[in-house]
Amino acid sequence: MIKLFDYILSVNCYKQRLIMSILDVPFESIPVDFYPGLEHKGEEFKKINPLGHIPVIDDDGFMLRDAHAILVYLASKYDPTGLWYPVNSPELVGETTQWMLFAEGTTNTASAARLHVNLGYEFDIDSCREGAHRLFRVLDEHLWFREQENRDWVCSGEHPTIADIAIFPDVILSEEGGIARIDYPAIRRWTDRVKRLPGFLPMPGIFPTADARPLSHEV
């Protein structure tokens, strides 16, 4: 079974739990005392990841670190539909990669602000917040036009991708870092849609939302 070196409050660990829950992949969570123990910075953990950060997965001996790389691996290996990481379409896989890189930006701004507020990390909080708002403005406009094209997700296909999974946690927990989402109504609607994905998993600070409209044959 996949082992996930995990911390309950980490957005990057949550991304892995979420995709594995959606893909129905069983995994074992190995808790790492991230705070206050700083176990990931200790000598023992550096044998697992010399960079000293989580998440890391161990899939039957295959070790992989870095949240967005793990998403690529898990979707490539465990999604038989090939829709979550759409390598069969050059356009879609390009877009997915583009938005995964965008997620690096949201992690380094919105989630960094959250680490500063919640766990006392020394970041320039004003610049984190400004950076997050700059990205959110772009994302909100993008998602608004996606809706105009009757599309629900960040990439242009009909199906969500790991790019949605990569961006969602940074966005949905932004208020913990003092980044309000009141000015981003299209982002707020998109977060509802992510929460309605079958297999959606909550975490502290991320709550389920009301169910989607039932399909006509279910009424």
Binding site: F145, I182, Y184, R188, A210, A212
Partner: protein, 595 residues
Amino acid sequence: MACFQRLEPMSKSLTNLWHPIASAEDLPYRHIFQGQLLGRELAVWRADDDFVNIWENRCLHRGVRLSIGRNEGLELKCQYHGWRYANRSAGCTYIPAHPADAPARTICNRTFPVCERYGLIWSGEDPTGDPPEISLLEKGRTLPLRSIAVNASLNLVLEHLANYRFSLNGDPGNLAVTTADYLDQCSLSVTATCDSKQSTVLFFVQPVDSNRSVIRGVLCSSPTDSERLLTLRHHSTELSHLREKVELDALKAPLIQPMTPTIEQVPITSYEIMMPSSGRKASLRVQVLRKWVTAEGIVGLELESIGKPLPTPQPGAHIDVHLPNGLVRQYSLTNAPGQGSLYRLGVKLESDSRGGSSCLHETVKEGDVLAISEPRNNFSLRRDAVKTLLVAGGIGVTPLLSMAHTLRNNKLDYELHYFAQTDGHLAFPEVLQEFGDAVVLHLGLSPEATSKELTALLLGYKSAMHVYVCGPGPMLEAARRIASEEGWPDTAVHFEYFRNTIEIDSSSSFEVSLARSALTLEIPSGKTILEILRANGITLMSSCEQGACGTCEVPVVEGDPEHQDVYLNDSEKAAGQRIMTCVSRAKSPRLVLDI
């Protein structure tokens, strides 16, 4: 420009204006939009009946934002402790920490006026007059633009918008000459002219706070499908450019203090104590909107408020109806929280009517005005049961319908067992259909067969199951007896009688001491406690005044009550801690009441 009708005089205060606060498309199915106007945050949600609710974005319990809660279709549920509030009225309908108690009617969130028009949702702090009618938008088809939030004051945004330029064909390199006209202090029109063609955009600037605004544009024409996206993108891009300039200017401007909206103190009385104000008050006036025969001998009545909106109908609640002939009768509400802004009743013509049901059947007609009391809920529904059985006999189905609606909307496990003579006697068949397989009909059964069916359906009690029974006396007695035999504790068996058929013995005389009022009164034979209290200026709420509804209940501190009501269950009667003052008396020479 002559074609614009001025919305409001220029001098009106911002709090007295209607402002757009959201786009219609901001409110998809089961979403809660987070808005803000003049510093006040709003939770805006469209209910399943299409009604748009605009509320203070604040749970009355712990102040948590309701916009992170759940839109459950007809109720909004706070994410924190699960308090629920009804569509339309915003009244609290359920407090999970007190599952057996009906929340007090006074727990009601603040609502703001709403109007959906031109693809926008309009509201205001305290708007005077009707929502704006804009002739240019009335005429043809329109296209709402993507709204743009700007970190700048209303006036700064308006100044820049007056110089807004755009292209008629979406080509950013070909911006047309524009002219601007103010409509009022928050809105203006911008018209672009190019090669004798014209395009006009109306801009409404929403004053979010002192230093924050939202630009809401509506294009006064509707481009073809192929041009639509191009047009929307063009305006989104040009307005984003404009925003950059406005925000640079805003950085140079002196910072204005954020607005501080006043949060109204909502009177939250405890959910346990609903302090009575007086006797049978009929504070509401309603008009009979619709009256129809819903089943053999049963009419349905829909009552619509005259004046202020009706209080939230909680599942199991009833109202007093003051009839034209002077009689006062109690009827259960059949509709659930959030279902419409009216009350729906079902009234059976009693063969031995003493004038109540016959008056509603024969005299009252559509359009008539009736006086009713505010709803009271002495038959409240828990929403923490693993399974709920609703058992109805005849017209006793009425309170159970509102419960079934609520349980169904909350996706909780329930069954509605409906005992009736024939299917022609089933009230509100169109409503029953909505419940699908959850309805089990038991038709034309003798009393013996009824008991047998009750035994079958009450078999297999499990912890945290609850049963609610309403129907004729003998059936209720049977259901209570069988439930007890099948191991149901009294606390899991909830019932409501139509009337008290116990012959009331009022021959005793005794003394009543009022612990809180420091008053001792003699209750002579032939007089009720309630009558003597009232004669001595003690106000007490009452409704049926025959020991069936539970409204005039009072806590007992000392003494031995002689219960003659059908509201309390056997263990409650044995405990002797509560008394129905309209019929019950004392076995001991003295009763001390906690009033």
